[in-house]
């Protein structure tokens, strides 16, 4: 088709499909000559840096009906892919039910960018800083293909398939689904009514490390949630990492190793080593792979250390 498209002298054609199927068909028609555009914030940066060429056809997803809503469904939360990060950040149930997603969004870009950038765009980039937090809550993605909305796909699976380049490149992300919190106590905690429960300690922390305190590309992101049950064992351990060009991922081996094990300080050096092994960051001129590994390993280990400190202050075994 238009192999010699020169964005300097020709304006791209911008399409405004009204529904997802129309958008999908447009994309299939133009193939690699077209890009879906949501908020366009990442595309702009890539175009300007020359890391992505400007396509002659832009398919605007912002006017596609039904993609700009946030609603509760079956105890979980559904977020349309075109909802901006700014809207997500201000959404009361999102922040209270899935606090790490709120935290991750708060530390993404700057407020002016968040008012334009969408959650769907953050997900589809494959390296968005919100992904580790979404992974922690076992988010699922609902996609549109030629035939209509497809069955929800776990985010973890999608990230694997994406890495393997095994996906229809034309598919459109419709909705990000955060399932009802399986740990009912978590919800009760989040709604602030767990006073009557037996003593159960938990932690949920998201960290983003960049090269400055705000409005920085990430070098390392981590999300950790875990509990210590009445018997003093780790429960509900969930650990996710990302940052930079690293593929966001749950550290499944580490989670399995910790789950149900005795929660004590002697395990921490092993936690550190296991993160060093399992986390796969990519180094660049700003921060090497080794720095990123050590940072993730330190932060995750430190989060568990903080959880164990709570045990100590609750009168458990003395730590340190």
């Amino acid at each position: 088709m238009d192999a010699t498209f020169n964005p300097v002298m020709s304006a791209p054609t911008v399409w405004h499909p009204a529904d997802a199927r129309e958008a999908y068909l447009l994309k299939r028609r133009f193939g690699q000559q077209a890009d879906y555009v949501a908020g366009g914030t990442l595309l702009r940066t890539e175009w300007e840096a020359g890391t992505r060429s400007i396509s002659p056809h832009w398919i605007d997803l912002q006017r596609v009906t039904g993609l700009r809503e946030v609603f509760m469904q079956a105890g979980g939360l559904c977020i349309g892919s075109q909802v901006t990060l700014g809207t997500c950040r201000r959404h009361p149930s999102l922040a209270s039910l899935y606090p790490l997603v709120g935290e991750a969004i708060r530390s993404t870009a700057a407020s002016s960018v968040r008012n334009v950038a969408t959650l769907g765009g953050n997900v589809c980039s494959g390296v968005g800083d919100v992904l580790p937090a979404l992974l922690l809550y076992d988010a699922e993605l609902e996609w549109q293909d030629e035939h209509g909305p497809m069955a929800p796909l776990p985010l973890t699976e999608w990230l694997e398939l994406r890495a393997a380049d095994a996906l229809d490149p034309n598919r459109i992300l419709l909705t990000i689904k955060l399932p009802a919190r399986a740990d009912a106590t978590g919800i009760q905690q989040a709604s602030g009514s767990d006073n009557g429960l037996p003593s159960l300690l938990r932690i949920a922390v998201y960290h983003k490390v960049g090269r400055r305190e705000a409005f920085s590309p990430s070098l390392v992101t981590t999300a950790v949630s875990a509990e210590i049950d009445a018997a003093g064992c780790f429960r509900q351990v969930k650990i996710a990492t990302g940052g930079g060009k690293a593929k966001p991922a749950r550290l499944g081996a580490l989670e399995a190793w910790l789950e149900g094990s005795k929660a004590d300080l002697s395990r921490l050096p092993d936690v550190y080593e296991r993160v060093m092994e399992e986390y796969r960051p990519a180094g660049d001129i700003f921060a090497g792979e080794s720095y990123r590994r050590k940072t993730a390993a330190s932060l995750i280990t430190a989060d568990l250390w903080q959880l164990l400190q709570q045990t100590a202050s609750e009168g458990g075994e003395t730590l340190c």
């Binding site: 300097v8 400055r212 409005f215 001129i285 720095y291 940072t295 430190a302």
Partner: protein
């Protein structure tokens, strides 16, 4: 402490403030003209290459293109450079960095101009790229200029250093490296270039020295300087980065050739690629003291990467040498500095002018030596300070202000420095958060220095409409020059702001005041207003006395007009006086920036002093440093404008924080890897969240004639070494390379791991 509340009515709304904060103010790069063309510059495709041929025919044939220029189209000198004109306007047969200009285009739209650039065919033969100064000096390296790859060498020796080192009880030695920092002004380079009648050309383009731009452009265009008018203010930030010519030659040439107005405004990426940066320096120092803590010997080796062309590289190096010796009375000194051409980006003038790099090293040595001696680092500095009798770093006579000891005392008594002794262990913080307090001492020279013409001057005129017109050849680049000028006239002359018309930044309208650089503008405006006060006032009063038929002894000037000193009633307004006058009432002065009676080129005479203390914390998990609290004592004479003074110290400190923690224009093989502000990271409000205390020390010795000293640069110097000292206290690790590398500050031993400490 300096603050809004401590300043009372002296804290004023700056005259350019409302328009700036509401976005109403039109910068020069916001201007446009009917039927104007858009100019673009074709930059080199390689950091180092021979040009075999340049073909412009296809570009010229593109509809909408009105001119395509190369070196063949330059009527005058195809070179520019404030100190040494060695930078080609357009490269003839060789490009030496990726910002080099090969051709320029003027076209009807920005899109056509950009497309035309793509159609210019340049045949290059890539040459070996010199990426390190050491490499450029090695035998067999390609020579970038006829005189070789060494731009400048600056040496200073006093006493026999070898012998003195032999007598030292303690010697410390370290190599310090500083980054290629970018000015990151908000407004990128650009302007509007308008041809006029009879060969006149008006250049609306930001610069720190309109008359110097006019001179340089007149050489390039081969026209008399008077045929060019340079309108150069307001400027959306400069920090030294717009003092040298940037796009002006291209706009001027394109406007002359096409006969139409031409607008050029660089993108951020082109600004990064072509613009100046702070010189990256590698500074090796060896410093030794006797057992009592007196420094006996100091050896300095500075290696600066100046990039492909000179601009002010030699002057920056001279400044670095002077300040690497600085404020201490070393027994013997052996300093050798060299500045070397490479195929990296252009290095040049930048707030602090080589002092930032030198002081990071020098103050680092002070802390290391004090530690080797087990002495308090601040006390160690005091016993080694230069005598207060007016001796400068090169032994040259300087104006004695007593400022050194005053800032030294102020820091010693500061809340923050006293915290250093009893930093709470970890309190509620987890053990991997470690805090430290550190301090640094700064002595900073102002003015261009001995041996470099440094004229200044100003003019006052009662205009026909009754406004007191105040004209200076200075520029408003956001530093608050207009506000300071207005405040000086209000406070020194008793005029009201509404009586004034401030005229700056227009070569057709201003006298030669010299450049708005080197922390000199406030000093020079004060000096000029002081010189003109008596003659101008006398002329106003004489004219008023004549017009009102009263005795001149009964009159004084004031807010809105001339007053009777007995009745305190206004005798006449300035409008009435202007209308009554036969001859225009004016005063004008010209003089030179004061220099030291010395023979040392570049040596300074007026100095400001500062002492900086910071508290920081280091997160040993991530290795990241956070600046929590800072205190600055500054001795620079009386505060002319409290808001401007505070702004300069706070802003300079913010810039220094970037220099210390995050800013580095990374290059690989002569190509910028930080091409835009998504990778080149300056501090945000979140990085600068902690409190900043600024204590001005205003008193000067009796009989001092020089008044306020400059403070435009000094705030940007001391923070880096103060943070390095604080990091040492917090972690036991010395920072030797900036920006700080978090990987070197990581330690996981708090988590039960052993042997992880770096």
């Amino acid at each position: 402490m300096l603050s809004r509340s401590s300043s009372g009515t002296r804290w004023r709304v700056r005259p350019d403030g409302p328009d700036k904060v509401t976005g109403q103010l039109k910068y020069l790069t916001d201007m446009s003209a009917p039927d104007m063309l858009y100019g673009r510059v074709l930059r080199a495709a390689h950091p180092h290459a021979a040009i075999r041929s340049v073909r412009t025919e296809r570009a010229l044939a593109l509809p909408g293109v009105e001119a395509v220029l190369t070196w063949k189209d330059v009527p005058g000198l195809n070179r520019f450079g404030i100190a040494r004109a060695d930078q080609p306007v357009f490269c003839e047969d060789r490009v030496r960095y990726t910002g080099d200009a090969v051709a320029a285009v003027a076209a009807a739209t920005p899109e056509v101009a950009e497309y035309a650039l793509q159609l210019i065919e340049v045949d290059y033969e890539p040459l070996r790229v010199l990426t390190e100064p050491e490499e450029a000096l090695a035998e067999g390296a390609p020579q970038l200029h006829q005189d070789g790859n060494l731009l400048h060498r600056s040496e200073y020796r006093r006493g026999d250093a070898d012998e003195a080192f032999g007598m030292c009880a303690h010697i410390v030695e370290a190599t310090y490296r500083t980054p290629r920092q970018m000015h990151t002004y908000m407004e990128t380079e650009g302007g509007l270039f308008v041809p006029g009648e009879e060969g006149r050309l008006t250049v609306y383009s930001p610069t720190q020295h309109g008359l110097m731009d006019r001179l340089q452009l007149s050489r390039i265009l081969a026209v008399p300087p008077e045929s060019i008018r340079v309108v150069s203010s307001p400027i959306g930030g400069s920090f030294g980065g717009k003092d040298e010519l940037n796009v002006q030659p291209y706009g001027a040439l394109l406007a002359r050739v096409t006969g139409k107005p031409v607008k050029i405004h660089q993108s951020r990426m082109e600004s990064v690629r072509a613009g100046l940066k702070r010189h990256p320096m590698t500074i090796h120092m060896k410093t030794g003291a006797d057992a009592s803590g007196r420094i006996l010997a100091h050896q300095v080796r500075v290696l600066a990467d100046t990039g492909p062309y000179a601009t002010l590289g030699a002057e920056v190096l001279n400044f670095a040498t002077e300040h690497a010796v600085g404020s201490y009375a070393f027994g013997a000194v052996d300093a050798v500095s060299i500045s070397v051409f490479t195929n990296n980006g252009m290095s040049g003038e930048f707030r602090g002018f080589g002092g930032n790099q030198a002081l990071f090293a020098l103050e680092g040595q002070m802390d290391r030596l004090a530690e080797a001696l087990s002495m308090d680092p601040w006390e160690f500095r005091r016993i080694n300070l230069l005598p207060a009798d007016g001796t400068g770093p090169f032994g040259q006579p300087i104006s004695a202000t007593g400022g050194a000891l005053k800032v030294w005392n102020a820091l010693g008594e500061s809340r923050l420095w006293r915290e250093r002794e009893h930093l709470t262990e970890s309190g509620n913080r987890p053990p991997w958060i470690q805090t430290g307090v550190g301090a640094a001492f700064v002595m900073h020279g102002a003015g261009l220095g001995y041996g470099i013409p440094d004229p200044s001057g100003g003019r006052l005129l009662l205009a026909q409409d009754g406004k007191v017109e105040v004209a200076f050849g200075f520029e408003e680049c956001g530093q608050g020059l207009l506000a300071t000028l207005e405040q000086m006239l209000v406070e020194m002359y008793g005029l009201d702001a509404s009586d004034l018309r401030l005229v700056i930044g227009d070569t057709d309208a201003v006298p030669d005041s010299g450049s708005s650089t080197a922390s000199r503008a406030t000093s020079m405006m004060w000096q000029a207003l002081k010189r003109m006060q008596k003659p101008f006032t006398e002329r106003l009063l004489a004219a008023a006395a004549e017009a009102a038929s009263v005795s001149v002894e009964c009159l004084r000037i004031g807010n809105g007009g001339i007053y009777d000193i007995y009745t305190q009633k206004r005798v006449m307004t300035y409008q009435e006086l202007a209308a009554a006058g036969k001859d225009p009432i004016r005063a004008e002065t010209s003089f030179a920036y004061p220099v030291s009676p010395t023979a040392r080129i570049g040596a300074h005479y007026l100095y400001s002093y500062a002492a900086v203390c910071v508290r920081i914390e280091v997160n040993r998990l991530t290795g990241r440093i956070r600046l929590l609290d800072q205190f600055h004592a500054v001795a620079a004479g009386p505060v002319m404008n409290p808001q401007g003074y505070l702004g300069q110290i706070e802003g300079g400190s913010g810039m220094a924080l970037g220099f210390t923690l995050s800013e580095d224009a990374v290059m690989e093989e002569g190509i910028y890897k930080t091409g835009n502000l998504d990778t080149y990271l300056i501090p945000t409000a979140a990085d600068l969240a902690g409190p900043v205390e600024v204590l001005p020390i205003e008193d000067l010795p009796e009989g001092d004639e020089h008044g306020p000293r400059g403070i435009g640069e000094i705030g940007s110097v001391g923070l880096a070494p103060a943070i390095a000292a604080a990091v040492r206290q917090a972690t036991g690790i010395w920072l030797e390379k900036l920006p700080a590398n978090p990987a070197l500050l990581q330690d996981a031993s708090f988590l039960g791991r052993k042997g992880e400490t770096v």
